[in-house]
Amino acid sequence: MTAIDEKPAPGRMSPPLRGGRAGLARYSRALRTPRGAAGAILLLVLVTLAVAAPLLFPGGYDVQSRDALALPTWSAPFGTDEVGRNVFVRAVYGTRTDLSLVAIAVPIAAVVGTLLGLLGIVNRTAGNLAQRFLDLIMGFPSLVLGICVTLVLGPGWPALVLAMTIYALPAFGRLARATLLSQENRDYVSAARMLGVSRSRIMGRHILPHTLDTMVAQMVVAAVASIYLESSLSIVGLGVQPPEPSLGVLLNNGARYMEDQPFYVLGPALVLFLLVLGFSLLADAVTDKGNKA
């Protein structure tokens, strides 16, 4: 699910990045590529739908009726579910749930993970310790981790956010550390050290900008992986709790009725696909991968 290298590509030496306006220019250039634009539009549509859900569908996601497992109509483009709820409405609210969870968990994981990864600058041993801690999480079977955290805290949002955060930490940590290692022996860093620049300033002004690009791309990857974690937890009944919908819950429930009402699963699957696609395209554009075409 990631196109990010774990080790710095051999033979490609990138100069020290300039932050500030040059960075901004890079991002806006990314948005003007066909990939970037497509990704941004997709995400914009989905995020707007998700945010505006209570306004568009004020009845909420739990309006049940006797018309169960009905095929699509104009007012219910994905049909109804097994208790007569509008699947399209639930898919929109489900996107809202997933995006909300992700919007909390991923940034926390990014910040904490990156700091853990960069700990090596401050103290070599602390850095190694942090890496071992991240290795532990990485090796832990993700679903088992999710189940245990959810059982300890009780099923619901706090458990899900915690599970997603912990699960996403290692990737950020390793990325940060990889960047750290690739940059710390470089001439400009040695020069800065010799000049007496403090460690934290080196970290903040010189090394950190390098991590930002890959961090943004990794945030996208982590967002997608977190959504999948929630879906997997839904399979064992530990995702968001009924009647709250998430894309994972809809996929799981809809799968059972695939033969009677295929749009129950196809609709949310399409939404999930578009969401992930939007994220991926944007990530590609930002990391300049698309520009190499």
Partner: protein, 317 residues
């Protein structure tokens, strides 16, 4: 390489000790009491105490922890609470199933991934490239359980040519066994294949711009030879690392795939053990999973160094 392994040892040992502590503590923090699961909800308090004593649950946690670790080091993995069978036996009976699935999925993932990546990177026709890109994105976006469900519907029910439930061991009957493995392995492999494909394609494009490739073209070397000998080989470094990572994700996705295709592997054992609070089984599975992950890391590090002499082992330890 030997010095590299020796230098890695302390951190690996530390990691395993830390994992054992977490593996021990985490399940015990979950609500519920395995003694009741064994005694039944109608048991009297005395019966319950007796059973807790038999299971060793009335000793202080530290004592239980050291007893368990001592057992592991001497080869005794403990007894499962809910089935009264040795943990080693339970795991052994499921190991083959998961291994078969993982290996077949791993092979599929590497083969399809590299083929996809090579095809994407070397095609000249923009339409083909667009189609491959779209396919790649589609596969990346589809979680294994969704792919699995669609494969079941398509190839198991609508056009029934493959079995969709159950398993037959490859050792018992390779031909039938493979048929049971194809759909689950494919469902598992496809998203990872797409990820590998994308990485390979990117890596190849990057390498293709290196000077030595221009030189080879100028010398008149055929394109396919350039792709094979120069580009592919130099791109494999990062690809190998990703393959190692992807394998780990494969194992993670195996749990869900096992449920959908009714395969009895370690994944479903892990989930059931947590749900029934079978502590000792879960502890061993977690420890084992982390140990395997560490092993994969070490192997990929060695593999990368073998492919690219410029990278010294231990540069990023």
């Amino acid at each position: 390489m030997l010095t590299y392994l020796v230098r890695r040892l302390p951190s690996v040992a530390f990691l395993l000790v830390a994992t054992s502590i977490v593996a021990f503590a985490l399940p015990r923090l979950t609500p519920g009491d395995p003694a009741i699961a064994v005694a039944g909800p109608d048991a009297s308090p005395e019966t319950l105490e007796l059973i807790r004593h038999e299971m060793g649950l009335d000793r202080p946690p530290i004592a239980q922890y050291f007893a368990w670790v001592g057992g592991i080091l001497t080869g005794n993995l403990g007894m499962s609470f809910t089935t009264s069978r040795p943990v080693a036996e339970l795991i052994g009976s499921r190991l083959a199933s998961t291994l078969e699935l993982a290996i077949v999925a791993g092979v599929l993932m590497v083969v399809i991934g590299i083929a996809l990546g090579v095809a994407t990177a070397t095609t000249r026709r923009p339409l083909v490239r667009a189609v491959l890109d779209a396919a790649n994105s589609a596969l990346l976006a589809a979680p294994p359980f969704l792919t699995g469900l669609f494969l079941i519907l398509l190839l198991g029910i609508f056009v029934p040519i493959l079995p969709i439930s159950g398993e037959v061991s490859l050792f018992e009957d390779p031909i039938i066994g493979i048929q049971y493995l194809i759909l689950p392995a494919l469902a598992l492999a496809l998203p990872q294949a797409a990820s590998i494909g994308r990485l390979v394609a990117t890596s190849m494009r990057t390498t293709a711009e290196e000077d030595f490739v221009d030189l080879a073209t100028a010398k008149g070397v055929s394109r396919s030879r350039i792709v094979r000998r120069h580009i592919l080989r130099n791109s494999m470094g990062p690809a190998l690392v990703t393959i190692g990572l992807r394998f780990g994700e494969l194992l993670a996705g195996a749990i869900v795939i096992e449920a959908i295709f009714a395969r009895h592997g370690l994944g479903s054992l892990a989930v059931t053990s947590v749900q029934t609070r079978d502590y000792l089984v879960i502890q061993v599975l977690i420890l084992g999973a982390v140990a395997i992950a560490v092993l994969m890391q070490v192997l990929t590090d060695i593999g990368v160094a073998a492919l690219d002499p410029r990278i010294r082992l231990g540069a990023s330890a």
